[in-house]
C-alpha cells in the first residue's frame, strides 16, 4: 500500500514535471529568436494610415526583433485575389493578413490558414473575452483559423441637422420605410434634389439584412438551396426597386459608386446612407453637419450582421514567419489595440470586458453615436458561412442591381438569381 502510494506520488510528480516541460517547450516553440522582417497585408483605407503606423511602431518597440511592413492591398476582394495567388505560388505570402469574414469558410476548407488553436493554448491567449458570435465568425469546422480584428455592422448614417430642422422620424420598422422615404427625400417633377437614402448595391452585405429581417433564408439549412426566389424575397426586392424608381433613393453600383455615395452624403445631396459603422469617423470628420447613426429597421427580427475583418496566418509560411506572425496577430487582436481602433475609427470594441462593463459606458460617453450599436449588441449575428458564398453574392448583387437600375421584372430576376445560386451552392 505504502509502496504503491509512494510510487504513484513519484509517477504523478514525474507527470507534472513532464507536463510543465512540455508546456514550456510548446510556448518556446512559438518564440521569435532571430531578427525577422514580415509583411502584414490589410484592406484599411487611407484614412487609417496614421493609426496603422502608430500601432506598428508600438509593436516594433515591444518586439525589437520583428520588422513589420504593413501593405495596403486594396479592397477585401482585391486582397483575396492577391492572397490566393500568393498561396498558389507558395511564395511572397504575408505573415499576417486580414480577411473579410465571408472568406473564412472558403479558406478554412482549403487549408489557406494556419490553425491557431495550438498557438492560443501555448501562449495562453485570452480567447474567452471575445463574444461568442465573434468566435464563430472567425472559426471554421470548430477550429480557430483566424481571430476577430476589426468588427463593424450595418448602420444608417443620417444628417442630424436635417433631421432636427425637418422633424424627420427615422424608421424603426420595415413598414415605416415608405413614409420615411417620402418625408426624407425632395423630389420635384421627377428630379431628385435630395435622396432619402442611398443603398449600396456593390456589396450584398449592406442590403442582405433587409431580407434576413423579413425572415428569408439566404442559404437554407441544407446548405444547398436559397429562398431568394420565394415570394417574400421578391416582395422585399420589389420594395427596394419601388423606392429607387420613385427616385426617393438610388442603388449605388459600379466602380466609383462607393466614393460618389459618400460625396453625396457629405454634400447633403442625400439625407442618409446605408453603410458600415467602421466609417463613422470618416463621415464625422468630412461632414460639416452632425452625423447620426441609426440602427437599421426591423421586420420579423431586427438583427444585423458582423462585418469587418479577421486576422489569419497563411499556412504555407515557414515556422519562423508564423511565429513572428502570431506575435503580431495576438498584439493586433489584443484589447489595447482594439480600443485604440474603436476610439479613432468606427470599428467596434470586440471584448466582452469592454462592451459589458463600465469601460463600455466610458466609450459611449466619448462616442454617443455608437449608442445605436451598443443597444443592439445582442442582435449582431455572425454572417452565413458557406464555401460558395462569394459566388452567391456575385450572382445576387448582379441580378438585383440589374433589375433595379436597368429595369425589368423583379420576380423574374430573383428567380433567375435563385436558380444560379442553387447551382453554385451545390457545386
Amino acid at each position: 500500500m505504502r509502496i504503491i502510494s509512494r510510487r504513484s506520488i513519484a509517477v504523478a510528480a514525474l507527470l507534472v514535471v513532464a507536463a510543465l516541460g512540455a508546456n514550456a517547450q510548446s510556448a518556446k516553440q512559438y518564440e521569435v529568436t532571430k531578427p525577422i522582417k514580415i509583411e502584414w497585408w490589410h484592406a484599411l483605407e487611407s484614412q487609417y494610415a496614421p493609426l496603422i503606423e502608430r500601432v506598428v511602431a508600438e509593436f516594433e518597440r515591444q518586439n525589437p526583433l520583428i520588422d513589420v511592413e504593413a501593405i495596403y492591398q486594396g479592397s477585401y476582394k482585391d486582397l483575396n485575389e492577391k492572397l490566393i495567388a500568393a498561396h498558389a505560388a507558395g511564395v511572397t505570402l504575408p505573415a499576417v493578413t486580414v480577411a473579410n469574414t465571408p472568406y473564412i469558410a472558403e479558406y478554412g476548407a482549403s487549408g489557406v490558414c494556419e490553425v491557431l488553436d495550438p498557438y492560443i493554448k501555448a501562449t495562453k491567449f485570452d480567447l474567452g473575452d471575445f463574444g461568442s458570435g465573434l468566435k464563430v465568425a472567425s472559426s471554421y469546422g470548430g477550429k480557430q483559423v483566424s481571430l476577430p480584428f476589426l468588427i463593424s455592422t450595418q448602420i444608417m448614417f443620417y444628417n442630424k441637422d436635417m433631421a432636427k430642422a425637418e422633424k424627420i422620424k427615422l424608421p424603426e420598422t420595415w413598414a415605416e420605410m415608405d413614409s420615411f422615404m417620402q418625408k426624407a427625400s425632395k423630389v420635384s417633377g421627377g428630379v431628385t434634389e435630395r435622396y432619402a437614402t442611398v443603398i449600396p448595391g456593390w456589396d450584398q452585405w449592406y442590403f442582405e439584412t433587409f431580407f434576413l429581417n423579413n425572415g428569408i433564408a439566404i442559404v437554407n439549412k441544407d446548405g444547398e438551396t436559397t429562398d431568394l426566389g420565394a415570394p417574400a424575397a421578391i416582395a422585399v426586392a420589389s420594395k427596394l426597386k419601388q423606392w429607387c424608381d420613385s427616385k426617393y433613393a438610388y442603388w449605388a453600383y459600379g466602380k466609383d459608386a462607393s466614393s460618389v455615395m459618400r460625396q453625396n452624403f457629405i454634400e447633403g445631396k442625400t439625407f442618409s446612407v446605408i453603410h458600415t459603422t467602421s466609417l463613422y469617423n470618416m463621415y464625422a470628420t468630412n461632414c460639416k453637419f452632425e452625423v447620426g447613426m441609426h440602427y437599421l429597421p426591423g421586420a420579423k427580427t431586427r438583427d444585423s450582421e458582423i462585418g469587418g475583418c479577421v486576422l489569419l496566418i497563411p499556412r504555407k509560411n515557414s515556422q519562423e514567419v508564423k511565429n513572428a506572425g502570431w506575435k503580431l496577430l495576438s498584439f493586433l487582436t489584443g484589447k489595447e489595440v482594439n480600443m485604440l481602433w474603436a476610439r479613432e475609427t468606427g470599428y467596434m470594441p470586440t471584448r466582452n470586458s469592454v462592451t459589458r462593463t463600465s469601460e463600455g459606458k466610458a466609450f459611449l460617453a466619448e462616442k454617443p453615436a455608437f449608442k445605436a450599436v451598443f443597444d443592439n449588441l445582442d442582435h449582431i449575428n455572425p454572417r452565413i458561412q458557406h464555401t460558395a458564398y462569394s459566388a452567391l453574392s456575385k450572382i445576387w448583387m448582379q441580378e438585383l442591381a440589374k433589375v433595379i437600375i436597368e429595369g425589368g421584372d423583379v420576380a423574374q430576376a430573383m428567380k433567375k438569381a435563385s436558380i444560379l445560386i442553387d447551382e453554385a451552392l451545390q457545386d
Binding site: 482549403s110 466602380k255 460618389v260 460625396q263 448582379q398
Partner: protein, 311 residues
C-alpha cells in the same frame, strides 16, 4: 520529289566538317530564341490544354483529371450563356475598334493631308494618345465620364441631355470604353494611312484630273484601292490586338455592369484569379485560342484574293 530529296541528302553528305560546323554555328544564333519560344510560348500552350482536363483550382494543391467536364460546362452547362455573351461583347468591341481605326483613320488622313509645319504638329498631337498607357488614360476618362461629377455629363446637361450613367449602365458601358479606344487609335490609323498615301505616285492623280475626275472621285477610285494593302494590315493587326482587350476593361468596368463588358480575356482572368477556377479558365482560353487562329487564318486567305497590290 524523291530525286530531289536524294540530291539534298547527297549535298549534305558531301558537306565538309568545316561547313557543318559553320551551319551549326548559324543554328546556334537562332537557338536561344527557339528555346525561349519552346518554354514560354509552345509549352504553356500545350499545358493550357492539359489543365483544361483537370479540376485544378488555384487554392488547392492537388488536382485530378476529369475528362471533358470543363468543356461540358462551357458548351452545355451554365458557362454557355456567359461564353456566348462574352464572345458577343468581344466581337462587337473588335468590330467598333476596327471601324474607328479604318474609317476614322482614313477620314482623318484625308483631312490632315496637308503640307506645312502646323499640320505636321497637329498630326503628331492626334497620334500621341497611342503612346499613353491605357490604364492611365482610362483613369482620366473615368473622371470625365463620371455620371455625377464628370465634365461630359455637365456639357450634355447644358444641352438638356442626360445625365447619362456612362460606365454604370449596361447600355452605355461598352460605348464608354470605346470612347477611350477611339481617342487612342484614330490617330494611329490616320498615321498609317498617311504614310501609305505618300507612297502613291502623283501620276495617277494627274492622269485622273486630266480625265476630269473630281476630288471625291479621285479619292474613291485611286486612293482607296491603292491603300488596300494598308487597310488589310490595319485590319489584321487591329483585329488581333482588339480581341485581346483587357486594360481598359480592367480599370474602367471590371467586366461589368452585369457582364456587359465581360470581354474574353477579362473573363479568363476573372475565372482564374477571381473565381480561382483555373480549370475553366484554361478551357475558355483554349477555345479562345482556336477562335483567334481560325479567324486570322480566314482573314489572311480572303484578303490574299481580294486585295489590290500596287506592283
Amino acid at each position: 520529289m524523291r530525286e530531289r530529296d536524294t540530291a539534298v541528302d547527297a549535298a549534305r553528305r558531301r558537306a565538309s566538317p568545316r561547313v557543318r560546323r559553320e551551319r551549326f554555328k548559324d543554328f546556334l544564333c537562332v537557338a536561344p530564341a527557339l528555346a525561349f519560344f519552346a518554354v514560354f510560348v509552345y509549352y504553356p500552350l500545350v499545358d493550357l490544354f492539359r489543365i483544361g482536363f483537370t479540376n485544378w483550382n488555384l487554392i488547392r494543391d492537388e488536382y485530378k483529371y476529369v475528362g471533358f467536364k470543363n468543356y461540358k460546362w462551357l458548351f452545355k452547362g451554365s458557362g454557355l450563356d456567359t461564353w456566348l455573351a462574352s464572345l458577343k461583347v468581344t466581337f462587337s468591341y473588335t468590330f467598333w475598334e476596327i471601324v474607328i481605326t479604318l474609317v476614322g483613320g482614313i477620314l482623318l488622313a484625308a483631312l490632315f493631308n496637308r503640307e506645312g509645319k502646323a499640320f505636321a504638329a497637329m498630326r503628331s498631337i492626334v497620334f500621341m494618345p497611342k503612346y499613353i498607357a491605357i490604364s492611365t488614360s482610362a483613369i482620366v476618362f473615368m473622371w470625365i465620364l463620371n455620371d455625377q461629377y464628370g465634365f461630359l455629363n455637365y456639357v450634355l446637361g447644358a444641352f438638356g441631355v442626360g445625365p447619362v450613367a456612362w460606365l454604370n449602365s449596361e447600355r452605355t458601358a461598352l460605348t464608354s470604353v470605346l470612347i477611350l479606344t477611339g481617342w487612342r487609335v484614330v490617330g494611329y490609323g490616320m498615321m498609317i494611312y498617311l504614310s501609305a498615301m505618300k507612297g502613291i505616285s502623283k501620276d495617277y492623280y494627274e492622269a485622273a484630273e486630266l480625265d476630269g475626275a473630281g476630288a471625291l472621285k479621285r479619292f474613291r477610285h485611286i486612293t482607296l484601292p491603292l491603300l488596300s494593302p494598308t487597310t488589310l494590315f490595319l485590319f489584321v493587326t487591329t483585329f488581333i490586338a482588339s480581341m485581346k482587350v483587357f486594360q481598359s476593361i480592367d480599370v474602367m468596368t471590371a467586366g461589368g455592369p452585369y457582364e456587359s463588358t465581360n470581354v474574353m480575356v477579362y473573363w479568363i482572368y476573372d475565372l482564374a484569379f477571381v473565381q480561382f477556377r483555373v480549370d475553366r479558365a484554361a478551357v475558355v482560353a483554349s477555345v479562345f485560342f482556336v477562335i483567334l487562329l481560325a479567324f486570322t487564318a480566314a482573314t489572311m486567305k480572303i484578303s490574299n484574293k481580294s486585295v489590290h497590290y500596287d506592283s
